[in-house]
Subunit: 275 residues, 2 copies
C-alpha cells in the first residue's frame, strides 16, 4: 500500500515531501521544472488514483499549505487541470473532479440547415443586429448592415455546452421584414423555417480557440474569459453565403466530434505515455 498523495481530511503541517521525493528521483534534469508544472503532474496522478468523479478537493489554501507553495502557484496548476477538463471549479462552492469530456457531434447531423428537425439546438431568441465586421465579411454584407440574429443554445447531459449566434441576412429570408418583426423565440423559429426554403449547396467550418464573451459566459455557466472552442460555419445557397453561425462550446467540458465517431476516448494530461 502506498502513501496517499493527498491527505484528504487531515490537517497536516507543511509538507516538503514533494520537492525532495519526486525531484530527487529524476535528478538528472538539466532544466529545473517549474513548480506548478510538477505540481500539476502530482495532482493529476492523485486524481487518477485517489479521487472519483464529482468528489470535492480540499480548498486551495489547504492544498497550497500541504504542498508548501503559495496559493498563486497552486492555482496555476489547478488552472491547467481545469483547462484540460480534469477539474471543475466554482466560486463559493469548491473544486471538484470533472467527468470525462462529452463528445458533441458537429459534423453529421448537420448536412442540413440549422433548425431542421432533430438537431441538438434550442432556439432562444431572435433580434435584428449588426454583426461583427468579421461576420459581415463572411456574409458579404457591408459593415453595420442589420441582419436577423438568432440565439440558440445546446444542452448535453443536462448541462449547457454551447451558445450560438446565427446571422441570417435579409436576402436569405426575403419573406420576413427585418425591422418591425417582434423579438423572441417565435420569431427565431420563423427565421429558421424560412431558411429551409433555400436549397443548401454546402457548408464549411472552422474551429479555433477563443474566450467567452460576457454574454456567452453566463449562458454557459462560466466566468467571462473562459476558454471556448469557436466553431464558425458558413452556409452556402444560391451561390453565396446565406447564413453564418458562430457557436461557442465550453472547451473544458466538450470534445467536438466530426464524422461518425462517438466512442473516441479522452486524451488527457501530457506525459501520459505508458509507464
Amino acid at each position: 500500500m502506498q502513501q496517499p498523495l493527498i491527505n484528504k481530511g487531515a490537517k497536516t503541517p507543511p509538507d516538503t515531501a514533494i520537492a525532495e521525493d519526486t525531484v530527487g528521483t529524476t535528478q538528472l534534469e538539466a532544466v529545473p521544472e517549474p513548480k506548478y508544472w510538477h505540481l500539476k503532474t502530482v495532482l493529476s496522478e492523485a486524481l487518477d488514483s485517489e479521487f472519483s468523479v464529482g468528489e470535492v478537493l480540499p480548498n486551495e489554501r489547504d492544498l497550497a499549505a500541504r504542498f508548501g507553495v503559495a496559493r498563486a502557484t497552486l492555482r496555476q496548476a489547478l488552472e491547467q487541470l481545469e483547462l484540460e477538463g480534469r477539474l471543475q471549479r466554482r466560486r463559493g462552492v469548491g473544486t471538484t473532479v470533472a467527468p470525462p469530456r462529452v463528445g458533441v457531434a458537429v459534423g453529421t447531423e448537420q448536412h442540413a440547415w440549422p433548425g431542421t428537425a432533430g438537431d441538438a439546438w434550442q432556439p432562444a431568441d431572435c433580434t435584428t443586429t449588426a454583426p461583427p465586421n468579421a461576420v459581415a465579411d463572411l456574409l458579404g454584407t457591408a459593415h453595420g448592415t442589420q441582419v436577423h440574429t438568432v440565439r440558440r443554445s445546446r444542452m448535453s447531459h443536462g448541462q449547457p455546452v454551447a451558445a450560438e449566434l446565427l446571422y441570417v441576412p435579409e436576402f436569405s429570408v426575403p419573406a420576413l421584414p427585418a425591422v418591425d418583426a417582434p423579438s423572441g423565440a417565435a420569431r427565431a423559429r420563423t427565421v429558421l423555417h424560412e431558411l429551409q426554403r433555400l436549397e443548401l449547396e454546402g457548408q464549411d467550418r472552422a474551429v479555433e480557440l477563443g474566450s467567452a464573451r460576457a454574454e456567452d459566459a453566463k449562458e454557459l455557466d462560466r466566468l467571462p474569459g473562459a476558454p471556448v472552442l469557436v466553431v464558425t460555419t458558413r452556409f452556402h445557397a444560391e451561390g453565396r453565403t446565406a447564413a453564418v453561425s458562430v457557436a461557442t462550446y465550453r472547451a473544458d467540458t466538450c470534445r467536438l466530434t466530426f464524422g461518425d465517431s462517438e466512442g473516441v476516448v479522452i486524451h488527457h494530461g501530457p506525459e501520459r505515455h505508458a509507464s
Copy 2:
C-alpha cells in the same frame, strides 16, 4: 485626433485615466468589471488602432506602470490576448503583435491515408512504443502493446504549426517487423507506404483543447503547457481501427478548417459587435 491609448516611447507617470475614464462612461454597471478584463479590452482596441502586425509592445513593467496596475494583473490581460491569437510573447525578446491566425485544412486533403503524396506533413521519425492507454483503447490493442509510432510535423508559412504522433499497430503493416527495424525518417516513410496497401474505409475525428506536452512544446516553439488543439483521427480499414493519429496544433496561431473554406475570417475579441 484622439489621444493614443498607449504612449509607445515616452516615460509617463502612473496614469489614472483608465479607471476614471472608461468606468465613468458606463457607470450603470451593477457588477464591477475586473481590472484585467477591462485592461484587455483597452489593449485590444489599442492593438487595432495604434499597432501593426509584428510591432513590439512596451515591456510588461512599463505597461503595468502606465496603467497603474501590478505586473501580475497586466500579465493576466496579456495572457488572454495571447490565447486569442492577438499577441505573441517570447522570453528574452518581448511582446509583439501577432498576425491573423492561419487557416490549416484538416478535412479535405485527407480522405486518404496519411503520407499520401501532397499532404502537409513531413515525417520526422519512427520508433516502437506503447501508446497511451486512451489510444490503445481506440486501436483495440491491449494496454502496453507496442506499436509503430511515427512522428510528423507540419509547417505553415515557415512556422511549425502542428506535431503529430501516428500510432500504427503491427497488424496494419504485417510486412514490417515491429522490433528490430531501425528508427528514423526512413522507417517512418516505410510504415506510411505500407499503410497505403490497405483500403481506407473511413475516418472520424475529434477536436479538443489540451496543453502541450514538453516534447511537443519544443517542436512547436512554445513553452510546455501552451494551449493546443488536439485532433484525434481514427482510420478505419478491414472493419477495424487501422491507425490513430494524435495531432496537436498551436491554438494561438491556428484556425482549423473543415471543408473547402480557406477564406474564413478571424473571430477575435469578445464584445466586438459593431458599435
